[in-house]
Subunit: 310 residues, 2 copies
């Protein structure tokens, strides 16, 4: 089977090698060297690849989007009609996201900013001990990513709440859903973690009104999409002192412009869309399995639901 591979230049060869290690019979073409467009049967693309460009391949049977989020697929023109799209649901990707969440939850919970400042000033001073059992974590989104973060935070002893569009239950997690549930959870979230898919419903969900519902001194973590946050509203909430800090991995646009106020804000921890990690060796088996399924005429695993938007 002939595959078009399109990803960042730095990881192109690692991806090709990882796919061939699982199935040496694959014919992997590195974009833009696709050869005869009629020969391409599957496209394995990162999220920046043009969906219009994929209309060039008349025999395409499958698109694999190399990430968990699929909001880029929802924008016009969208993928070629009738071609199933699979997203990655990779344990390593989930693991990387959970690491980022735990690092930043613990950073805020354990007063790391204050301790770094004390070290810089040469001050030896034990701060009042935080109580894990009283630090309420609210997670927006209880899918693969939110569910795993919830389980790991519960295991550390944090009280964990979770919000999802439709009612969902996870052992030990206090569950909320719908608009009223969102407000109720925000009002009790000392640390709010956004891991939602970006859809028309969730765009700008974190705005002046909703951030204002958080308890004074709350922290925000966003590793979902920049579009979930009204960035100016977040800056205002940090500057007013209503929020104590934010750890942000995603922005709109990306890269974040050099002049943006997040870069040098003393309450902002910034990472460059690096929270969730895709390691080709770890993700290749599911990609190859979906290619094999396409050849047999089966729908892919982890197929994107364009009605739900994720």
């Amino acid at each position: 089977m002939t595959i078009l591979l399109s990803t960042k230049a730095a990881t192109m060869e690692a991806w090709r090698d990882a796919l061939l290690a699982v199935d040496p019979a694959l014919d992997v073409r590195l974009f833009p060297d696709a050869g005869d467009p009629a020969g391409i049967e599957a496209a394995v693309c990162w999220t920046a690849h043009s969906m219009a460009e994929l209309r060039r391949y008349p025999n395409l049977k499958l698109i694999v989007s190399m990430g968990a989020g699929v909001d880029h697929l929802m924008r016009p023109p969208g993928p070629p009609p009738g071609i199933p799209v699979a997203r990655l649901v990779d344990t390593r990707l989930t693991q990387g996201m959970t690491e980022w969440v735990l690092l930043n939850v613990l950073r805020f919970h354990r007063q790391d900013g204050e301790y770094r400042a004390q070290q810089a000033a040469g001050i030896w001073n034990e701060l009042p001990a935080p109580d894990t059992a009283e630090r309420r974590i609210g997670i927006l989104g209880l899918g693969e990513l939110g569910g795993d973060a919830a389980r790991k935070l519960l295991a550390l002893g944090f009280p964990v709440m979770g919000w999802s569009r439709r009612p969902k239950s996870l052992p030990g997690v206090e569950a909320f859903d719908g608009p009223a549930g969102l407000d109720a959870m925000l009002a009790r979230s000392d640390i709010l973690v956004c891991l939602l898919p970006l859809t028309a419903d969730t765009r700008s969900v974190l705005n002046a009104r909703s951030l204002g519902l958080l308890p004074r001194g709350a922290f925000l973590l966003n590793a979902a999409r920049g579009g979930h946050v009204v960035q100016d509203d977040l800056l205002a909430a940090l500057d007013s002192g209503h929020l104590a800090g934010a750890a942000l991995d995603v922005f709109e646009p990306e890269p974040l412009p050099a002049s943006h106020g997040f870069w040098h804000h003393p309450k902002v921890i910034l990472t460059p869309h690096a929270a969730s990690i895709t390691i080709p060796r770890s993700a290749a088996p599911q990609v190859v399995e979906n290619i094999h399924r396409a050849r047999r005429g089966l729908p892919p695993n982890n197929q994107v639901d364009f009605t739900a938007g994720y």
Copy 2:
């Protein structure tokens, strides 16, 4: 029963209230207001309390040391002969230590120092993704603290090794013991976490020779005691580039003198003996239970073994 309570001034009343909440019949005296020395039957003391001072109380039946480490009890003159000493084995204390360990393991694992420096410089640049499955963690000490840290790190997907004086096994942890086992584990520890008790055998265990066994670019976490580390040897290993970083919570002496090279070292993360947290409300029940046991003539739970040194 009449109890002498001696701890830091800032937490004295919280401790008294927590003890009385468990047993309102207790007569709690706040040091130095002990009243009649002959009336004191139990002493609940923090680690800086003078063991010589405790010889003033002829009817003392129990000493509770308000911490996990007991090395301070081993120094002359030691506790009054024949009086059993209990240490705290508090889930909250273990939880706080595990949080500190996870925060610093994830800080180093996820290149947080580099990302903080990039943010300060306004640089948007995704660093090569670290692979959790290949980041080997070595834990010195597999007691309450080391065992809990090992379990939580395993759950995140890290390969975990552990060393203890005597052979010990924990599910999923590759176990080492004895001097040869120590060297073997150090040689494979990308991140080394010291959670040992401080004894004559473990003093200065981290010195030029043993730090030299770690893989180049390794990280060290020490939240046990300053005396485990030959501090000048650690500084040299950081300066030479052999070690990539160290997170240190304990020093010798404490507070760390203002002139010490750790304070402003770019590779050192410093906390002021604040890793492990004792919350009176959480620790009080076990203290009161040991007081009740002493009244009934029973040995305390978690009695210090002065032969083993912990």
